[in-house]
């Protein structure tokens, strides 16, 4: 496929990049929301995504064992199971590792999060084994978008599902944040946690719910990655988490549309870099962008400048 130039090749990379970007965007939202509300980088979020992928894989296998093979229903069940169980992980992590450290010194929650991340990686490795887990393709086929004779641009059904799911979740999530009581308290806590507590918002519960929603979105990303790549292992959370965080910073940390935009950009950059330059260095490209953004526009594309007050 390499070396094929022209519009068709470009179009294919655009499709691939957008698919990848949608997944990064879903993970990035978890980072950005947690950062917005308690001002910490949740290092374990990549691991939450990995756990989401594992729960999805296991649910698929269980459904296969009991003989449920009608794909739309199976997908729906897996989606709900993955979101449910992964949310419990998100809630428990916040309760155990972060809540006792609220108001502690600056580095404590960060180190606790790294510890949590190492713990979860090894927890899954010990329980499920270190080998790569393959899954039979669940959804196959696709549309031929364009055909120039020597290169065919394919938009697979799976890619459509990934983009549609992401879009639907984004809209739903946006509605939750802007129109529901939870969204209102979430935004209030983001602006001023102390004041929000004074006017009767249950701050602890809002923070817990923030982790739960972030985890649920990461679980969806985990499911989509399991379907898209067909292989997962206990280590996927590390790189994906790092890139999703880069996406959150690129878009402006704390900003929800920023996270989505950043995710799409990182996905596109990665796809195009791998296609036109060197696929071995595609991760380097993503990190270099993180450093460049921090140098030239530390607030990100859609972020607000952070003012530190005494």
């Amino acid at each position: 496929m390499r070396g094929a130039g022209g519009m068709e090749y470009f179009l294919q990379q655009l499709i691939n990049g957008l698919t990848l970007g949608a997944i990064y965007g879903l993970i990035a939202i978890g980072y950005t929301m947690v950062y917005g509300i308690i001002g910490m980088i949740n290092f374990a979020h990549g691991e939450i995504f990995m756990i989401g992928a594992f729960v999805s894989l296991i649910s698929f296998l269980v459904l296969g064992t009991i003989g449920l093979t009608w794909i739309p229903l199976a997908l729906l069940i897996v989606l709900i199971t993955a979101m449910l169980f992964t949310s419990i992980y998100g809630w428990a992590i916040e309760r155990i590792a972060y809540r006792p450290l609220r108001g502690s010194f600056r580095l404590a929650p960060l180190i606790s999060a790294i510890g949590m991340s190492i713990f979860l990686q090894n927890y899954v490795q010990i329980l499920q084994g270190a080998r790569v887990k393959p899954l039979q393709p669940v959804i196959t086929g696709g549309f031929v978008v364009a055909d120039s004779g020597d290169f065919t641009v394919v938009l697979s059904y799976l890619q459509i599902i990934i983009m549609a799911t992401t879009l639907a979740l984004m809209i739903g999530f946006w509605a939750v944040i802007t129109r529901t009581p939870f969204g209102r308290s979430q935004r209030a806590c983001q602006q001023d946690r102390l004041m929000a507590g004074l006017v009767g918002i249950n701050v602890d519960r809002t923070i817990s719910l923030t982790f739960v929603t972030g985890a649920a979105l990461a679980a969806v990303a985990g499911l989509l990655v399991t379907l898209y790549y067909g292989v997962i292992d206990f280590f996927i959370g590390f790189l994906a988490g790092l890139k999703a965080f880069t996406a959150a910073v690129l878009g402006g940390i704390g900003s929800l549309p920023g996270a989505m935009l950043g995710g799409l950009l990182i996905g596109l950059i990665e796809a195009f870099w791998a296609a036109y330059f060197d696929s071995e260095y595609k991760d380097v490209a993503a990190f270099s962008i993180l450093v460049l953004v921090l140098i030239f526009k530390p607030t990100g594309l859609l972020g607000r400048p952070e003012v530190e007050k005494v």
Binding site: G115, N122, Y123, Q128, F287, E308
Partner: protein
Amino acid sequence: MAAHPEPAPRIDVVAALKEAGLAALVALGLAIPLVGFQTVERIDGLGIDTRFGWVAVAVAAVFAGRLLLIFVQGSRHWGSRPKRRFVRLGENTKSHLRIVGMIGLAFGLAMPLLPFADRYYVDLGTTVLIYVMLGWGLNIVVGLAGLLDLGYVAFYAIGAYSFALFAIHFDVSFWAALPVAGILAAFLGVLLGFPVLRLRGDYLAIVTLGFGEIIRIILLNWYDFTGGPNGLSGIPRPSFFGLEFSRGEGGFAATFGLDYSPMHRLIFLYYVILVLALITNLFTLRIRRLPVGRAWEALREDEIACRALGINPTITKLSAFAIGAMFGGFAGAFFATRQGFISPESFTFLESALILAVVVLGGMGSQTGVVIAALFLVLLPEFARELAQFRMLLFGGAMVLIMIWRPRGLLAHREPTVRLSDGPPAAEQSA
């Protein structure tokens, strides 16, 4: 409140049971997908096994553990007493630390000459000392300056590769290449730190993490220069002031009229890393008292106040970052000459996490704590082989628990190194 008789601890049993029940319910939710089911490889693809017995055990354990925790907390009156106990604990350990440090130093110096010290123990001691040195180097960055560096292994790798490449291509000796390795690592530290250190501390953590990965990916893919995944081999061993540790004429043993023994080189390596580590320690202890060292500790405590006092935070942080990187580079050069072979596999994120664990578990800023943690982290998997696969699990868990229990680490160094003379009694220099 000390005058009042302590009220008898009252624990609401029903509430406690309810709380424990909730915890068990959450544990059930956590355990079902990942503990209850196991993916197994079968001939026709991936299959699934169940182990619901384990789930039951896990849930029961959480229920009992939560109940126990409630009763322990209830009878101890948390909130009033622990604080005082911690202070006293700090005072006690402080006076003992010197003695412990002296004994440790004497043992470290004498270790290879003791009767039990065979090949295995000297080698193990060298490994421990590498981690001690890395821990002390990272302690400057994390413990003193309060900057979270998650890519410390990158500087370690740069030190190792720069020494190896110099030695292989230009035939430079270990002692000549050592400063170069350190300076290169420090230079890269400055390059990386300069843009990032102006920003909030958390960004530094993630950028260093990314930087560690970038270095590893480059080492892995730049075949012509670094040998890619095959690594570099044939790295020259260090010599004793020009004398090779070899059999026959002109070797170390022959010159001093000793019988040749491969132990000589191991013991020599042990002392080299011991000296390097002690230099790191001495450097840290002294620089703490210089204006720049005091500025690091002040920055760690309150950046805004420092800025108001005219300290340039970026330059100050940068110096800590670069000096920490330099010691990482030294340790890397030593690692390369000791192994004789290096590959990107030795420089993964796991290694960074391990070094960070040494610093965090030992107590940020405490030099003795680093030694204790390094001993613990290297020796534990060595003497408990069956625990080896749980090693990282335990580290991760311990990092979380120690942060919750004592956020500054086990032997935290919180006392300012230098105090005004008419203030409280001058703080003892805690080693």
